[in-house]
Subunit: 485 residues, 2 copies
Amino acid sequence: MKRVPGPQRKRWQENFSEWFDWVLERAEVYDYGRYPVKGMGVWMPYGFQIRKRALDLIRNLLDSRGHEEVLFPLLIPDWMLAKESEHIRGFEDEVYWVTHGGLEPLDVKLALRPTSETPITYYESLWIQSYKQLPRRFYQVVSVFRYETKATRPMIRLREVTSFKEAHTVHETFEDAEKQVLEAIDIYKKFFDSLYIPYLVSKRPDWDKFAGALYTIAFDAIMPDGRTLQIGTVHNLGQNFTKAFGFRIQRSDETFDYPWQTSYGVSDRAVATIIATHGDDLGLVLPSTVAPYQVVIVPIQPSDKGKLYTVLDYARQVLEAAKGAGLRALLDDRSDLTPGEKYYLWDAKGVPIRIEIGLREASSKTVTLVRRVDLSKRVVKLEDLVNELQKTLHDLDNILYERAWRFLRERVLRTSSVEEAKKALDERGGVVELPWCGLEDCALKAAEQLNAKALGTPWPFEPAEGKCPVCGRPAVTYMRYARQY
Amino acid sequence: MKRVPGPQRKRWQENFSEWFDWVLERAEVYDYGRYPVKGMGVWMPYGFQIRKRALDLIRNLLDSRGHEEVLFPLLIPDWMLAKESEHIRGFEDEVYWVTHGGLEPLDVKLALRPTSETPITYYESLWIQSYKQLPRRFYQVVSVFRYETKATRPMIRLREVTSFKEAHTVHETFEDAEKQVLEAIDIYKKFFDSLYIPYLVSKRPDWDKFAGALYTIAFDAIMPDGRTLQIGTVHNLGQNFTKAFGFRIQRSDETFDYPWQTSYGVSDRAVATIIATHGDDLGLVLPSTVAPYQVVIVPIQPSDKGKLYTVLDYARQVLEAAKGAGLRALLDDRSDLTPGEKYYLWDAKGVPIRIEIGLREASSKTVTLVRRVDLSKRVVKLEDLVNELQKTLHDLDNILYERAWRFLRERVLRTSSVEEAKKALDERGGVVELPWCGLEDCALKAAEQLNAKALGTPWPFEPAEGKCPVCGRPAVTYMRYARQY
């Protein structure tokens, strides 16, 4: 297939925030900024279909690895949320409280769930008595609420996060919980891989872990403007919540002890990152895995209007062929839009392949395929159509994958010089890795000098040579720094 | 297939409330009554799968009839909820209010959505300017909240209704909205038919319609104890909400006017009614359409333990055959439960078909099929297995359908005598239909005499002969009365 330069990515990179707002509106993904409550928006029909396909991917992964979907209450009584003391300290400033039912004040204040460790541990303590019932792995897809005081952004920093997939697991031993952490990381890798989203996996610094966890492993993506976005987290919760809830089990050695837990989550940000990672100045560019339509067919009215039905009949034949092969295909036969207007529209919506059909194609039993990613064109025989469509989708996904990982790799710099690191962050953002002695103080000082945040250390662990650039002591590993969303 | 009497339905009918609580727990459907907030429960993994399949059925119906799935915010500012005056009057006593974010009081109180007419009309007014964009049909599946002061019941009367499917449509004309009401009724009929749930369709009395509607059409089921349960409603909203929101469109005649709306909803009660309608004293009896497993295979350990693997290998072969035919099948090969314990368990969970496999079956290449609905047994050759399974599922669904409709029909009495009607309600509940003159007063008086509630008039409209038994004036139609949940 002929390579052409393809659409620009200038606005996408230079004015990412504006571009992002524009594309959500233009492609009718998510209506944001018009609701009278800050930080809340609407998944419009087209966006909902993208979201649904992304959620289906993670659901299938979790289901195939022994997870059970459930649904727990939204409202959490104040005393339940406060059971684990670190947890409530982490969340109390950003919880929405329900205080009235009708005109009556409630006896007990109810929190809108910011996350569900507390109600889930409460029920686990009712359901599970013995190691024989373990492991259990639950998950739910729900709205969570945080009264964000930082500037809100559509899908990225919301007060209602509408697509929070939270998984919660229980294990007999610490070792089993550790294994589940690895399993969860592997699941998230496969999830982001299926969206062609590149990521860095870091162990968050101890001072930035989830409130109530032993430690947190996080996935970060790099946005077009070079800032990082946390897109997934995996927590080893230890026995913190099971102890807080007095949740004990009989172990295989017949002693009684508190079981061990993990939890892990992904959110709307996964969809935000699909959009941010693959888009360009024309709009969305969707991977085939989540595209509501993988193929859109645009008929071109012939100058001889009497031949319109020849074109339309042929277009319908092409549609049936594509659908018959299991592809999500749409024939856009609206008569009040020109083909050019339709191209513009479907390009903005990121449909991977456009098929143009005019009289020439109808007479020669061919179609013209246009790839969204680079707008390259190719004429294909009808008899080869299904194979070519499948191959082209596969190629497109590969192009997105390669391009995205190249973008990320170009923005990760390992250096021993704080100056060089700062220069890199100033010039193109991304992530810098500096040798680190392991002391919180040094990481915080470096972060301050870099005007960045300490993201954490590489996961899996990487030993470092050289010295901590802050204190001069021998480095243990690297600390990653970035300017974050 | 040999008919046997089948399990009793004594507790099911005589102590329905207790039976219902028992079956939810026993079959691990819904954990209720243990959460410290009244009226809220947990969808457990098995129940979640039933719920998911029921929701898939309604989603597919709506998608195939031009509806678009969306997701609107949970939180509604007080002034927005109050835009339509009848609406807020109907809901203000039962809305949960969020008043604080973190430790700060909010400037504007936020309601947890009791239903979404107001935010959806708000966005429709932003999205739709012209008749050319109509009709639009949106739906979402969300939690809704009502601060119920009546006694709460699992799935039936909740404070968090977790499976509310609400559809909202916009039309250019009153006639189009009327057509959509018919369409919605047809969709709900097909939905309940696919669950083998019998229903009565009534036009709710004007004094009991949805707050803000012109009129409400409702679906009622009859529970085992004879009380009715509202399981679906369809509202013609007229221009009430579009006027309240100043939402006008250009019409095809180039004038500007407020468009017309309908809304319709089903909820957790659909799942409650599957359970209530088909169950018996052993537990759930699930239609094949929503059963998480349609077939469970129980291997029976031979007295010669060396032959266990022969049985297990054969059982796995049977499992693959069933799965290969697209059936949801499970092999229960746990070694810590006896076959009898497994039968008891899966009977309670309502799996439509059990397959028993012992050494005899393995040697003769047969299986023993047991139908959940009547526990009748039959030996089937392996080569006929797939056909027999499919046929048996079909038969079972038909048995459930016939039995359920018979139960309902036996509990609907049309009479002109209030005494006879009262006797019927006292003896076996259900629904009575009395001739009605059309005056609210007469219906309320009759309802009081019957110690029942006026459900509404038959839909479609049925003219009545005779006189109103309350005032003696000529009857216009029938009024239905029932004791309701």
